[in-house]
């Protein structure tokens, strides 16, 4: 059986690895010259640029299992179990999770810090009891409101929102708490309060292209698969025999048609929409894809001529255009090439800054960084880069959950994968991996039904 996987991001790579394991002959089509999609990395004039700041959490079980399977798990460096919040003037608030079972480690972290006042801590911990006790299915019902609304509904003090949960929302979904659905946030609360390790943070030791995707690619090719980068798909060809519509092939931009028995569409939302023929919009399943939206994202990287930080961990902040940042030279040793810090800053919300020039955006980030880390002011800048992604992960606004498609489509030999398809980890690397697994399973079962159906 031959399967074409469209899109070489984490979702596509996972689906391809699963299908190769199941004995399928896989061909993976990636439009860019590098694999990884939204988690890709590349070199511009020798400077290793990454498309974002990518963090591995302890609760990313499927992703970590997949990394073990392809042999990349040891590339993850786990950090001290502490969440840091940077404040102006070089101050840092620490949420240290001690080595006791959940949720007690979280209760300690949320109470023993100097970011929140005691009454704020109390309202926060009291409200988090609900997502702790509730099942994931019940938590999912909170997709009817924004996180800010949920926050008010359950009586948490406003200061907790501005100083703590808003930066978390911005770093997770690139949306402010006022725009983001309560579901992803409360899902995180649920996981973090159930498992002690869930909130632990890990970094890849270097650029994801070399340290993660290459392992996937080797795993797939070792099982007879083929990876074709630089192959941009123009459209999916649909055939409509009496038994219902079926994908007959994939037309590349070059005009070449790749034919297979099954297809996994693991392209991001906006690209998937372009590839699907308009006639499919008559089906409500596909029409929903046009109703989901995606978020614009920016990431700034600055190389300094000296080390401006020694902290081997991620920082959150409420006082900058970016919500999370880290010194990659410290957290990821393979980035430590120039003898100085490499500060990566994830800008969110990106929309309000979108109209500025690259230099203006970088300057705004640097000004904020100088306030958070006063020592960086003395360092000279060797190089700076800005990555703008107009259509990144899907927009996790209230009500969007109901629009997310299942991996199984009405077309028997087509499955969808990607963060935007239905799975419980929303827009994250773990979500992409889970959707890839589910897409592979959906395709295999869907096609076995086709083969066994009497014609």
């Amino acid at each position: 059986m031959k399967v074409a996987v469209i899109g070489g991001g984490l979702a596509g790579l996972t689906a391809a690895a699963d299908l190769a394991d199941a004995g399928a002959q896989v061909v993976l089509l990636e439009k860019r010259s590098v694999l990884g999609g939204k988690v890709s990395s590349w070199d511009t004039d020798g400077w290793p640029v990454e498309s974002g700041l990518h963090i591995f959490f302890g609760c990313y079980t499927e992703l970590l299992t997949a990394l073990k399977r392809v042999g990349a798990y040891s590339n993850i460096h786990w950090k001290e179990h502490t969440i840091l919040v940077a404040r102006p003037g070089g101050n840092v608030s620490r949420f240290h999770f001690p080595n006791v079972p959940a949720p007690f480690n979280g209760i300690v972290a949320f109470t023993a810090n100097d970011l929140l006042t005691w009454s704020e801590k109390l309202t926060n911990v009291r409200a988090l009891i609900r997502p702790w006790l509730m099942s994931l299915g019940k938590v999912a019902r909170w997709d009817d409101r924004t996180y800010a609304q949920w926050h008010a509904d359950y009586g948490i003090a406003q200061g907790v929102l501005t100083r703590w949960w808003n930066p978390i929302a911005l770093s997770m979904g690139f949306l402010s708490a006022q725009e983001m659905s309560a579901r992803p946030m409360t899902t995180v609360f649920h996981h973090f309060s159930r498992k002690a390790d869930a909130s632990r943070i890990g970094f890849l030791d270097g650029p994801p292209g070399e340290r993660m995707h290459r392992y996937f690619a080797e795993y797939i090719t070792a099982r007879g698969g083929e990876i074709r980068t630089g192959s941009r798909v123009a459209e999916l060809l649909v055939d409509s025999p009496d038994t219902g519509p079926i994908i007959s092939g994939v037309k590349l931009e070059t005009g070449e048609v790749v034919e297979a028995d099954g297809y996994v569409l693991a392209a991001p939302l906006h690209s998937a929409r372009k590839m699907l023929p308009g006639t499919l919009r008559a089906m409500p399943y596909f029409d929903n894809l046009w109703r989901l939206k995606s978020v614009p994202v920016m990431n700034v990287q600055v190389w300094f001529d000296r080390y401006v930080s020694r902290t081997d961990n991620l920082f959150f902040t409420a006082d900058a255009p970016f919500s999370v940042f880290a010194d990659l030279a410290v957290t990821s040793p393979l980035y430590d090439r120039t003898g100085g810090s490499v500060v990566s800053m994830a800008v969110a919300p990106a929309q309000p800054l979108w109209h500025l020039t690259d230099d203006e955006i970088i300057q705004k980030c640097l000004d904020a960084l100088y306030k958070l880390w006063p020592r960086s002011r003395q360092a000279a800048i060797l190089h700076k880069s800005l990555v703008k992604i107009p259509n990144s992960i899907y927009r996790e606004t209230p009500g969007s959950d109901a629009l997310r498609p299942t991996q199984k489509t009405p077309i028997a030999n087509l499955a969808l994968a990607g963060d935007y398809t239905q799975q419980d980890y929303m827009a994250s690397m773990e979500g992409a991996v889970r959707s890839g697994h589910r897409a592979a399973r959906a395709l295999l079962t869907g096609m076995s039904e086709v083969r066994t159906s009497p014609i």
Partner: protein, 451 residues
């Protein structure tokens, strides 16, 4: 709304109707128009409550009901320091238990003794008859409130805001009847306190389709036709025509005024001004109100609902950019918050920039994250005389829709109907005017046919 409602119900009854409107847009106090950027300016923040039976029936009858978007059943109160206190009405309970449960479960607004006192106080409007409520028009809400054992805290945090949102007047001025009426509806009807918004601007989502509906039924609508005077013949004891600004006279068999009360007063001839019930109109005045729109570069409140704000000038507001699909689509990331400034009188002398600066100050105190957002645009709409002032004792001056002149009728929020100054009141007054006209017509017919 009153005039168009009357036009609709009159044409249903088979009357040939001509509507005269002095502006080039319909809607009066609910009108909206576009500025140079193509953004919609509104004369106010228009909220549809579940209690608005007649308005909702009117929208259903004209096929406009789907233009509403209903919010979760909660009333959200914000206060300085960024605290949001939602009053969530549990869906499983019927009225009035859901309201009492909402108050009991609320956080931040009231202390527990306050809640108990409020709960007991609310038994009056819940159990009281319409007659009882009418009899309380002699008191201001504040006096009623304190006399019936409710606390000063609940007055300041809660009922003052409601009074400002409903009539743009503080509770020390507004008649107790106004709040009692609202509370009795909220206490008796389960979904009365639920809130809906139009999906977009009133012009596109309400008035244009409504005008098309009316015109298809033969109603003639003439814009830019300002009525200068009501012509009255003392000999016949009848109105003989509406004199327009251009000097022409609009003639009909029956005349109906749906003008605001101050405009009606200006057009009335001295003979009518001295006559009951018109003489009482001199006591009815409109309240000044301002509507401010703030356009931010990102969503700022996170609340997809109406927000009441205590101890401030921004009595009620909503992030329409997040609520109304029309304002959301193609907004390029902008989010618009529309706020009602009340009490507005003391800010009326300020210029627009100063008004916006003060509104921003109060708004960011309530939503600290709005301080990080950039204000890309702001608009101010001032209405010196909006809905009539529901002061104590004013109720007896409100005229019936049928007047002492047999062929002259009135409608508008200020006329006698049970819903006070609201869109519901306007629609109901129009409906009642149509009924009175048809009854009067029947009487006339029966009188003529008598031998």
């Amino acid at each position: 709304m009153a005039g168009l409602s009357a036009a609709k119900y009159l044409s249903d009854l088979g009357y040939r109707v001509t509507v005269l409107e002095k502006r080039e847009v319909a809607g009066g106090k609910a009108s909206s128009w576009q500025d140079a950027d193509g953004d919609w300016l509104e004369s106010g923040l228009h909220v549809f409550f579940g209690a608005y039976r007649n308005l909702l029936a009117f929208l259903r009858e004209t096929g406009l009901y789907d233009n509403l978007v209903w919010m979760p059943h909660a009333l959200t109160f914000s206060s300085a320091g960024g605290k949001l206190s939602p009053l969530v009405f549990p869906g499983a309970l019927p009225a009035p238990l859901h309201g009492l449960a909402a108050i009991a479960r609320s956080r931040g607004v009231l202390t527990h003794p306050d809640k108990l006192r409020t709960g007991f106080g609310l038994l009056w409007p819940i159990l009281g008859s319409q007659k009882y409520i009418d009899s309380q028009d002699k008191l201001t809400w504040k006096r009623w409130h304190l006399r019936h054992g409710l606390s000063r805290r609940s007055l300041g945090d809660f009922f003052d805001t409601m009074a400002l949102a409903l009539n743009f007047l503080p509770s020390s001025e507004v008649s107790a009847k106004l709040l009692l009426t609202v509370l009795s509806h909220f206490g008796k009807e389960t979904d009365a306190s639920r809130v809906a918004f139009l999906k977009g601007s009133p012009e596109l989502r309400l008035f244009r389709p409504l005008l098309a509906y009316l015109q298809a039924r033969g109603v003639n609508v003439r814009f830019n036709s300002k009525v200068r005077a009501v012509r009255y013949s003392e000999d016949d004891g009848a109105v003989t025509g509406f004199e327009l600004d251009d000097g022409s006279v609009a003639k009909g068999d029956i005349y109906l005024s749906a003008m605001p009360v101050h405009n009606l007063w200006k057009t009335l001839p001295p003979a009518l001004r001295a006559k009951a019930p018109f003489e009482g109109l001199r006591h009815l005045h409109g309240v000044p109100v301002m509507t401010v729109q703030l356009y931010f570069d990102r969503p700022v409140t996170g609340v997809h609902n109406l927000i009441f704000s205590s101890r401030s000038h921004i009595s009620v507001y909503a992030e329409l950019g997040a609520i109304c699909p029309d304002f959301h689509e193609g907004s390029a990331g902008r989010s618009m918050v529309e706020l009602v400034v009340a009490p507005a009188a003391e800010w009326f002398r300020l210029d627009d920039a100063a008004v916006v600066a003060r509104v921003m100050e109060e708004f960011t105190a309530r939503h600290p994250l709005a301080g990080q957002a950039i204000l890309v645009k702001s608009t101010v709409v001032r209405i010196p005389q909006s809905v009539y002032r529901a002061l104590p004792g004013m109720d007896r001056y409100r005229p019936n829709q049928a007047t002492s002149v047999p062929n002259f009728f009135l409608c508008g929020d200020y006329t006698r109907q049970d819903y006070l100054a609201s869109m519901e009141g306007a629609v109901l007054s129009g409906k009642q005017a149509a009924q009175r006209i048809s009854v009067a017509g029947l009487n006339a017919v029966t009188q003529h046919s008598r031998p």
